[in-house]
């Protein structure tokens, strides 16, 4: 189990590294540089800025610097460091220390600073969404499975199918339209007006969590139905246990195992779904900032936010893998 944990934890590093390579590579394929402004910045100033941020260095590797280091008679580690004195590796080394570089558009601000400033709003939104999806999704799924082929079941299936299939940003738009007609809130993005309704994070959170909630409902229902026909449930019934005991003690834990396994991808979906929802509802979070940086082509922002999101997703998956081991003794003893 411990070695499994460590292996799982270490695996996050190459994954994030690959994400960084891909993003970095693609971002440098994009036309336009960091200093493109409406009013062009003087060539000399650009050169100074480049030197200051290390953008005059080679993209991936720096063999010249390595040679120079060797010529200076430095040891192999210093030579190696010089070889990696490139834009990419300096970025990676910086990122590992939590330094994501300057924003190309918001002059004078660091990417990590912006992310940290905006993150609390996103976290609140995400929290509402996760709580909503789990607290509503699991009971709804259980109810559907226990009352199979009744009105309850059809209702939970209906809600789940709608939630799974209709993209959250469509629901968000319809919800905003509905709210603005109902309460006369101007549907233009202005979070403080939502705040007044006490729904600042509730409505966007629910909309964000709707897809995940629906997915959890479907999965819980399917999983309960699967467990219900297992032999060990018949054994439990044959012991004379009450329906309640059979459900609570024998069915629930078994049927939650597959649900927990998808919580990782589900949280990932929440994280990445959040920027559309944030931008539609005007929640001042990382996601809204991300959307703005896309339209402004703020590459360092896009890159930094992507890495940040990938880290969140990786951590989410990791947590899920760990809790999985606690739920299923077969996993716990195998590793």
């Amino acid at each position: 189990m411990i070695s499994f944990l460590i292996r799982r934890l270490l695996w996050v590093i190459p994954v994030l590294f690959t994400v960084a390579i891909v993003t970095f590579f693609l971002m440098h394929r994009a036309p336009g540089g960091p200093w493109d402004r409406e009013k062009p910045i003087a060539r000399q100033t650009q050169a100074q800025l480049n030197a200051r941020f290390g953008l005059n260095k080679p993209l991936w590797f720096n063999p010249d610097a390595a040679e120079a280091a060797a010529a200076r008679g430095e040891n192999i580690f210093q030579q190696g460091r010089a070889f990696l004195d490139s834009q990419f590796f300096n970025y990676i080394i910086g990122a590992a220390q939590g330094n994501l570089g300057p924003s190309y558009r918001q002059v004078g601000r660091e990417v990590e600073e912006i992310i940290m400033e905006k993150f609390p709003a996103s976290a609140k939104l995400g929290l509402v969404a996760v709580i909503f999806s789990v607290v509503v999704g699991i009971p709804l799924g259980i109810l559907g499975a226990l009352k199979q082929n009744t009105v309850f079941d059809y209702l939970s299936l209906f809600v789940a199918t709608i939630g799974v299939s209709i993209p959250s940003f469509v629901i968000a738009i319809l919800a905003i339209l509905f709210m603005s007609r109902m309460f006369g809130v101007p549907p233009i993005r202005r979070p403080n007006e939502w705040e007044g309704l006490g729904t600042a994070y509730i409505l966007p959170g629910i909309v964000l969590g709707l897809g995940t909630m629906a997915f959890i409902t479907r999965l819980t229902r399917a999983s309960m139905l699967e467990v219900k026909r297992q032999d060990y449930i018949r054994t439990a019934q044959a012991k004379g246990l009450s329906t309640r005991a059979v459900i609570m003690r024998h069915m629930l834990r078994n049927s939650l195992i597959p649900v927990v396994t998808i919580l990782g991808p589900a949280v990932a979906a929440l994280v990445t779904g959040s920027f559309i929802i944030e931008s539609i509802f005007g929640v001042p979070g990382v996601g809204e900032e991300f959307v703005i940086s896309i339209t402004r082509r703020d590459y360092s922002m896009i890159m930094g936010t992507t890495l940040f999101y990938a880290l969140l997703v990786a951590l989410g998956n990791l947590t899920v893998d760990l809790s999985y081991g606690f739920l299923d003794p077969r996993i716990r003893t195998r590793h």
């Binding site: 026909r229 054994t235 004379g240 329906t243 005991a245 003690r249 003794p329 077969r330 003893t333």
Partner: protein, 360 residues
């Protein structure tokens, strides 16, 4: 003395999308205290559904007990409500299932699963129940039971799990133990041990046992009397010795002739039963075995043959007086004439028993 269990004209049907499956269609039998009844039949013959009907654990929908009585100690189980029935399950009637690999809950420890019925039915405290569970495990031959109690099912072998299942089943000293194919999923060497264990416990605890199997060999060593089921009906019943020595229903004869015997000379041919059991949906009112029978006559296709007395305590559902010798001659003749056996692969029926049980 009244029998412990008396099943009268039990009918359990499954209402599927393809039609009504008459899985058990008018079955009657009885079991006395301390007696062992063997129920024999192919898969789909209704033997498992019969036992689940007694426990009232038929998955519903699609299954339903549509008729008959199940008198247990004079009380009709079909009249009890769910609460009363629960007091009987695991306490007075308990059950061992076919597949020990799937019959234990994978996420609960053995101890947790074993103490459940003890605390529920015998009102034991947690520590009492634990002590009793250890006793039970050593009774069924599990080494160092104190230690194994906190293990999970996947840490046990198949045979050991079946021992745990048996320990669980006998934990409340039930009056009736139903063993549904308890050895089918196990290795041959383990099979004998498990049967021996059930036999021993039965004698120690004086429990009545219904043992359900498709293996006549299993029944021979254990049962006092045997009933053979085919297509949801009892087609022959007799004391074990009588059935083996003087089978009267062509199906039973066919079953016995298809068992390889050590005492026969080498080269003697086994006589398989042709074809497959019939589809239980829309079964016409004819002898259900007739398509596979070497003695089929016109009259077989006019009625469902009733169980009739063919000897003391011996009843068979065949219109004719067929004996084993006649049957063997007829089978040899049929083989010589080259009667086509029905192509098995093409005739896989849609309504086999496991499929029904899974479809709940």
């Amino acid at each position: 003395m009244a029998p412990l269990l008396e099943v009268k004209d039990l009918k359990t049907y499954f209402y599927t999308q393809d039609g009504v499956v008459r899985a058990v269609d008018g079955v009657s039998f009885s079991v006395n205290r301390g007696e062992t009844l063997g129920i024999v039949g192919e898969s789909g013959s209704g033997k498992s559904v019969t036992s689940l009907s007694i426990m009232r654990l038929i998955p519903s929908p699609p299954g339903r007990i549509v008729g008959g009585e199940i008198l247990f100690d004079g009380e009709n189980l079909l009249d009890l409500d769910e609460d009363e029935m629960r007091k009987i399950r695991g306490r007075r009637i308990s059950m061992i299932f076919q597949d020990p690999m799937t019959s234990l809950n994978p996420v609960l420890t053995i101890g947790r699963q074993m103490t459940e019925p003890l605390q529920l039915h015998l009102n034991m405290s947690a520590s009492q129940a634990r002590k009793r569970a250890i006793e039970l495990l050593s009774m069924v031959g599990i080494p160092s039971p104190e230690r194994r109690l906190d293990d999970y099912p996947h840490q046990f072998s198949g045979g050991m799990r079946q021992r745990v299942m048996i320990a669980m089943a006998i934990s409340c000293n039930p009056e009736l133990l139903i063993a549904d194919e308890p050895t089918t999923a196990l290795d041959v060497t383990i099979q004998a041990q498990i049967l021996e264990l059930i036999n021993r416990l039965k004698n120690e605890l004086d429990t009545a046992v219904i043992i359900i199997t498709h293996d006549l060999g299993v029944v021979a060593g254990m049962a006092d009397k045997v009933q053979v089921m085919y297509a949801g009906r009892v087609v022959e019943e007799a004391p074990t010795d009588e059935l083996y020595h003087n089978p009267r229903m062509p199906y039973t004869i066919g079953l016995l002739d298809s068992i390889p015997r050590l005492d026969e000379h080498r080269g003697a041919r086994l006589t398989p039963i042709r074809g497959l059991p019939p589809d239980l949906i829309d079964l016409p009112p004819i002898c259900p075995f007739s398509p596979r029978c070497d003695f089929v006559q016109e009259s077989c296709l006019n009625v469902v043959p009733p169980l009739r007395r063919v000897g003391p305590n011996h009843r068979a559902a065949c219109l004719f007086e067929v004996t084993r010798e006649q049957h063997q001659q007829a089978a040899a003749k049929a083989a010589a004439e080259g009667v086509e056996t029905i192509d098995i692969a093409k005739k896989v029926t849609a309504a086999q028993e496991p499929a029904i049980l899974r479809s709940r």
